[in-house]
Amino acid sequence: MQQQDLILGNKTMTSEQTHAETVAAPGRAGDRIFRRLTAFFALSILAILLLMIWQMTRESLPSITAFGGKFLTGSEWDAVQEEFGALPFLFGSVISSVLAILLATPLSVATALLITEIVPHRLGSAIASLVELLAAIPSVIYGLWGVLVMAPWLQRSVQPWLVDHFGFLPFFEGAPYGVSMMAGVLILAVMIVPIITAISREVLLAVPRSQREAAVALGATRWEAIRIAVLPYGKSGILGAVILGLGRAIGETMAVTMVIGNTPQISWSLLSPAYTMPSVIANEFAETTAKIHTAALMEIGLILLAVTLLINILARLLIWSVTKGQKQGAA
């Protein structure tokens, strides 16, 4: 056989090919099954998501048809009168998340820089694992700490001081309750710092040494090297981390529900209680009686899902564009 193949020269190829095919056939069948199986599971995740959107849309139809666009602009939330406007929840979610991001971002980026650029490698790794540990704490624990420790502290010391000194500003108007938009913002900030820090750290670690060296060799100090080489290189990755944090903040339910005061109102004062989309769903879903009430909560869920999906896609795209750029870019 072998001999013949050699002699026939040209034909060798084809005969070897058929040979290989017959031998590899069982393996290929296994490959095929494996591929189909993974494809099935991957698609089923997508299917679950689509099914969820479809189901939620269907369940919220009564509310969608009854209120239309007014659902997003109305600020009345009255189960008895069956009047539902989601604006206070939208407002509460967006404002608390955005403020939390504004607070958490500088803190997280600074921590990531400290870990990767300033302290010795070992100490940096130790701090990094500590920070990641924070991400593993269940949110109800954060909530408990928030309602038992932070909110009373805010009510006793921070908020009265703010009222005394900055009470003339609309942001610090009213009585200090402790539970408030401010408490919600702070708890959210604390909860998203770990994830933003962890991803920023990875982004900064991926900055090639040659970039730092380029800056240092030009006469940059440590801080200047960070400013002209490290941060610009990692900027879209860090932005991705921030947006991922925003997604977390918007979807966070438990801890926020425990400290934000759960009052559907639109107030610019950080001292006022507020309400978020996940909180109202969690609080009211079990005790709805009217169908329209359930539908309204479903619609809020739908809005929340849309917002978080959008934010996540945006974040992934940004992080993806960074890693892609690194592969093509300067080493």
Binding site: R212, E213, L218
Partner: protein
């Protein structure tokens, strides 16, 4: 000949690894000195000690003396940042800042020490890019990303960026090893011109390149400085057997 940079009994250790062993070497002003030797012999390590890049590596320890115009650059009270402004460096792989435009790359280092007006910046960009023969190729797209350039153009951009800081000495660590032959030739021509104004120290594993561009050559082997002298002499009539073996391609 007066030495611009000189090494006296200079050693570098990485932890317990004695990477550069008690080297004595003078680098004359306004000339090109090539450092050759097989991979891993300590060429880069020696070069990096001259602009204090080892300060970034916690395990690295430099001993002996390195002087610039007779002054110890590791002396007490010497600011490594100011040393690096006087002694610029070009790396093995082109490393422009990818987030910056061509224009901003050129003035990136210069801007660290000077607040400059637009017109000044434009002047420095033009003169630096002309100096590296890149101006005509990029003058119409100064605002585009440095990553749009070819490897050879990127390396010349990096040289322009180094020149813009107005150094006196330029260190080059195998600046052509990632480039094609034509881009290599351009860099070599540039090196010849640079010595009019700067003291150039170039590491290369390419002996033809050393022979072409340098006035003096130093041959290193396993952390030691085996032989140094005028390039012509090293390549035609070396004193040490090891040097001869290396340049005739018998090892390395």
């Amino acid at each position: 000949m007066n030495a611009k940079v000189s090494l006296e009994n200079m050693s570098v250790h990485f932890g317990g690894n004695h990477a550069v062993k008690s080297v004595n070497l003078d680098f004359p002003a306004n000339s090109v000195t090539a450092i050759i030797g097989p991979s891993g012999c300590g060429k880069s390590t020696l070069l990096r000690s001259i602009n204090r890049m080892h300060d970034l590596v916690p395990t690295a320890r430099v001993s002996g003396r390195i002087t610039l115009d007779g002054k110890d650059i590791y002396g007490a009270g010497v600011d490594p940042v100011s040393i690096r402004r006087t002694i610029g460096m070009v790396f093995q792989k082109p490393n422009p800042f990818p987030a910056m435009s061509i224009h901003d790359n050129v003035v990136a280092g210069y801007k660290l020490n000077n607040t400059l007006k637009r017109s000044e910046a434009d002047e420095i960009v033009e003169s630096s890019l002309r100096r590296v023969a890149l101006w005509d190729e990029v003058k119409d797209r100064l605002k585009s990303s440095a990553m749009d350039l070819s490897g050879g153009q990127q390396q010349r951009l990096c040289i322009a960026r180094t020149i813009a800081v107005q150094p006196e000495v330029i260190l080059m660590d195998e600046p052509c090893s990632a480039l094609d032959p034509i881009a290599t030739l351009k860099i070599e021509e540039l090196v010849e011109e640079l010595k009019e104004q700067y003291t150039v120290i170039i590491v290369t594993h390419n002996m033809q390149q050393a022979a072409r561009v340098s006035d003096s050559t130093a041959f290193m082997y396993m952390g030691e400085m085996v032989e140094s002298g005028p390039t012509k002499k090293i390549f035609t009539n070396p004193e040490m057997k090891q040097t001869e073996d290396y340049i005739t391609g018998r090892f390395g």
